[in-house]
């Protein structure tokens, strides 16, 4: 696990890659036309975005990464055909205290429940703890996001905060959950 030859960006069926400005905007544009995906991945209102808008977002994102120096963004790709599957992000890094936010999204329903999320989170945690040397990671999700909650529990995250009725969707209020995992907890699990 801690062999320097271990590739940080290669998983079993997936890999982390940079943005492909030629191919990715069209695929991500399709995801944004699926409100279900948007409501799992975003707390912002769902809105369909053309490939042109998505491309502009990528440019803004890469500029922000360069300026703020507290964000790492990866595209998830299938190893067999290199197609775009989703996104994995370490954001809002607080370098002085070693804390950050994690985000993970699998764009198409066809690619969910295939273990890609598990592989991606495993890689993302290794990156956060073993490459960025962070002390803890934090993840926020809506209480209705059952897939994400199950994934957090599988990796030993603790539900630390329940922000009651923080979100409004479908005419009702939902709690927002905050999960945390400490480096020691991750190490113990990785060794077990």
């Amino acid at each position: 696990m801690f062999d320097i030859a271990t590739q940080l960006f290669d998983g079993q069926d997936i890999r982390f890659g940079p943005i492909d400005y030629e191919k990715d905007p069209e695929i991500e544009s399709k995801w944004t036309h699926n409100a279900e995906f948007m409501r799992l991945y975003e707390f912002e209102p769902a809105r369909p975005m053309s490939a042109a808008i998505v491309k502009k977002q990528y440019e803004k994102l890469e500029k922000k990464i360069e300026e703020d120096k507290n964000l790492y963004h990866f595209m998830l790709r299938a190893r067999d055909d290199d197609r775009l599957i989703g996104k994995a992000v370490v954001s809002r890094i607080e370098w002085a205290s070693g804390n950050c936010q994690l985000r993970l999204g699998i764009g198409s329903a066809d690619d969910r429940r295939k273990g890609y999320g598990t592989q991606a989170l495993k890689m993302l945690l290794r990156f956060a703890f073993a490459e960025l040397n962070l002390f803890r990671v934090t993840a926020n999700m809506a209480e209705y996001n059952e897939g994400a909650i199950a994934l957090m529990k599988k990796f030993g995250f603790t539900e630390e905060v329940r922000r009651r009725q923080s979100l409004e969707r479908d005419g009702r209020r939902w709690d927002l959950l905050v999960f945390g995992l400490l480096k020691d907890e991750w190490l113990n699990q990785a060794q077990a």
């Binding site: 205290s97 804390n99 002390f135 630390e160 905060v161 923080s166 905050v178």
Partner: protein
């Protein structure tokens, strides 16, 4: 109708950029104050720079998601701190931050009174559904004050702050509109 900006001990104001900058530059030099009120590393900025931030906000017009106030005492009209609301208009959630920079006014109810005004403003003027805040676990005075203003503890992010070589938690609190309305009708917190 109620005077939204006037409490029992303090009032909420909008101060001239120069005056605000002068006070905030002085408060920044008090690192105990900073470490109680803020999670970022302490920094020192010139009055000129702080003034420019305020002026920039004036230039860019009202931001519908941002309500910054200063806090003045009623008894001697002294500028003692700040209170800011950041709104999520989509989900009806307000985040509030407060700081009493003048140490002589700590532990005497001024902050609590200002916070009550902030929460009241969020519910009665801005139509929010909940108000949220975070604080450091070592800030016991703040915890008591926020409970008095109606907030309930909703959890803690473990060991997410490192200061003086020690790991501490951040506590997260919230008050819901319905809870707050009941408190106004005399229910016990």
């Amino acid at each position: 109708m109620k005077d939204l900006f006037r409490g029992e001990l303090v009032r909420l104001t909008s101060e001239e950029p120069e005056l605000r900058a002068k006070h905030e530059a002085r408060w920044q030099r008090d690192t105990e104050f900073h470490r109680l009120a803020d999670g970022d590393p302490a920094e020192l900025n010139s009055e000129k720079k702080i003034k420019a931030w305020t002026e920039k906000n004036i230039e860019s017009g009202f931001n519908p998601e941002r309500y910054p106030f200063s806090i003045r005492t009623l008894v001697d009209d002294k500028l003692i701190g700040f209170l800011g609301l950041w709104l999520n208009l989509i989900h009806g959630e307000a985040w509030v931050g407060i700081g009493i920079g003048e140490r002589d006014y700590w532990g005497k109810g001024y902050g609590t009174d200002a916070m009550k005004l902030g929460v009241q403003f969020a519910f009665m003027e801005l139509g929010m559904q909940r108000v949220s805040l975070g604080l450091h676990e070592y800030n016991a005075r703040a915890l008591k004050s926020y409970e008095k203003a109606g907030f309930k503890l909703e959890g803690r992010t473990r060991q997410d702050m490192l200061r003086e070589g020690k790991r501490t938690d951040t506590l997260w609190m919230g008050v819901l509109r319905d809870e707050w309305l009941q408190l106004q009708r005399g229910a016990k917190p």
